[in-house]
Amino acid sequence: MERERVEQLQPQDLIEKAKLGDRDAFGELVAQHQHEVFTLAVRLVRDRDLAADVSQDAFIRAWRAMPKFRGDAKFSTWMHRITVNTAWTHRAKQKRMRLDPLESMISEPQASTLDPVRAGEAASALPKIEEALMQLSGSIRAVVVLKDVYGWSHSEIADHLEISVTAAKVRLHRGRKELRNLLDGYQDGAP
């Protein structure tokens, strides 16, 4: 009954309740935003298991920071920022462990780890652009994803990835060029 009551609330009401510590309200926010958070995490870290961990940690960070959420940005935008920071923390940990799956070039997403919907379509049915995107190195892919998919500014990207604005621009230039060449290869039937 409580669950039904919470689900009927408007997003703003859910946020206000979650800020006051209402777990059900926060659970509903998680349910509503889990797919977009998970999708962003997959695009950043490529590995779906790691992306699931990143998503969970991002939501837990969000829960802890809920009272600080002022509502200047949309909740989804705020969650995107937390997800990027969380993904980058995981990336740094992986680097310290010298096991960096982000940089270990996987030619394409593995069908066995795809969710039922995507697995049913098979990896080859992924949009070519997404397949190509997954072939970029982690640091370059992150910039292209945040700028061209999610429309972040150079300064936002630089800030969240802890790089300079110039570095963000250079990576974007390289990433787009690599992507264009990869897509050209697809047209020629190469990869």
């Binding site: 659970g27 998503s55 969710d115």
Partner: protein, 113 residues
């Protein structure tokens, strides 16, 4: 490929959406190679933007897992903030000093009486 074509090929990845304006605009319109290249970037830009709406389905149980891992509300915020501790300590010192002064004054008056 002439110098202008080379320059445009360098600029296109920076522009991103294939739109070249300014002095090179007319060249792109008239050059088959450059207009084709601009079209590729334009198409790529459109496809990348379209990915925002294409969502992966999160693993089942993600919401449940998050809810089971939730700690107390806003753990960080419940802890007294460091910048609040100094005024509180200062207020305590002042209050103690004031109370001490009152006690000493009373003792002094009692003895004087």
């Amino acid at each position: 490929m002439n110098v202008v074509c080379s320059a445009i090929h360098v600029v296109l990845p920076t522009v991103g959406d294939g739109t070249i304006v300014g002095p090179f605009e007319s060249h792109v319109e008239s050059c088959v190679r450059c207009s084709s290249e601009a079209d590729r970037y334009r198409s790529m830009h459109r496809e990348l933007k379209g990915l925002e709406q294409l969502l992966d389905v999160a693993p089942r149980g993600l919401t449940r897992n998050v809810l089971t891992r939730l700690g107390p509300v806003a753990v960080a915020d419940r802890e007294p903030r460091r910048d609040n501790r100094i005024p509180v300590a200062a207020a305590a010192v002042v209050a103690t000093a004031a109370a001490g002064t009152v006690v000493l004054l009373r003792l002094y008056r009692e003895r004087a009486a």
